[in-house]
């Protein structure tokens, strides 16, 4: 049995897959949301109408199915490697999602926004690395 935190090619592939799935999920959520963007929510009734409209979008169901797959893969990965190893790799979706938004959804991502994304990525990595030190101290 491989020891904990041994990062094999297989584990790297699954970690990459979590980035891909997260990007697919967010892309499909956005696609399903676009289909109902004419609605305004200003009460429970309109919130109900929003939900009713959006559950008819196949994109929502693709996203939810992908989220379920992501949950299963992520839970399995965390039994093999530490969170502090998994999160930095998985947070590449902070780059992948805006990239997909720019390419496939025609969104404009400015240089300032990319630099902000860079800081977020660095922050997420630092926070997850600090978990390791904490666990070591306990």
């Amino acid at each position: 049995m491989p020891k904990k935190n041994q990062v094999t090619i297989k584990i790297i592939s699954f970690l990459a897959l979590t980035d891909v799935l997260e990007t697919i999920i967010q892309f499909c959520f956005k696609k399903s949301a676009i289909s109902v963007d004419f609605l305004e929510i200003n009460g429970l009734a309109s919130a109900g109408a929003f939900v009713w409209a959006i559950i008819h979008s196949p994109f929502l169901w693709i996203a939810l199915f992908s989220a379920f797959c992501l949950f299963v893969i992520w839970s399995t990965l965390l039994s093999k490697i530490d969170l502090s190893v998994a999160v930095p790799v998985a947070s590449f979706s902070y780059i992948a999602v805006p990239l997909v938004s720019a390419i496939f959804l025609g969104e404009k991502v400015s240089l300032l926004r990319w630099s902000g994304i860079g800081f977020i990525l660095m922050g997420v990595v630092l926070v997850s690395i600090s978990t390791k030190y904490k666990a070591a101290a306990v």
């Binding site: 892309f27 609605l39 805006p98 969104e107 902000g116 800081f119 922050g123 997420v124 926070v127």
Partner: protein, 126 residues
């Protein structure tokens, strides 16, 4: 239809807050129930126990409401911006850990949280 940026941040904050509470409930229930999984039979027993747990359902309900807020935000704003702002969940979980779990943070973690906040500000301005 574009929304006011402060409203966007507020709605994403609600999404992340509901998600954080949902995760905290789930985590505490799994801690209480025990999660030693040795076999598939064992895993199924754990799922059945959680399935019968009212707090687990409360957690799922919050996650569902959080999703509705998220979809509403996405229907009004760019995905590239919303997804970046969504990283404020790291800041919220940190705050919850300090307030409710009395955790103490080292300098690496503070630096990371500051970096996330700075990043969100830049993304919002961009």
């Amino acid at each position: 239809m574009k929304m006011n940026i402060l409203l966007v941040i507020g709605l994403i904050a609600i999404t992340d807050l509901l998600d954080t509470i949902s995760q905290l409930i789930l985590k505490s229930e799994i801690n209480r129930t025990g999660s030693d999984i040795h076999s598939i039979k064992n895993a199924l027993a754990l799922i059945v126990r959680l399935y019968k747990n009212a707090r687990v359902w409360a957690s799922f309900t919050l996650a569902g409401i959080s999703l509705v807020f998220w979809l509403f935000v996405l229907s009004k704003t760019d995905l590239s911006m919303a997804f970046s702002i969504d990283s404020m969940r790291y800041v919220m979980i940190a705050a919850a850990s300090i307030i409710f779990l009395k955790e103490r943070f080292g300098s690496t973690r503070w630096l990371g949280i500051a970096s996330v906040v700075l990043g969100i500000v830049l993304v919002t301005l961009g």
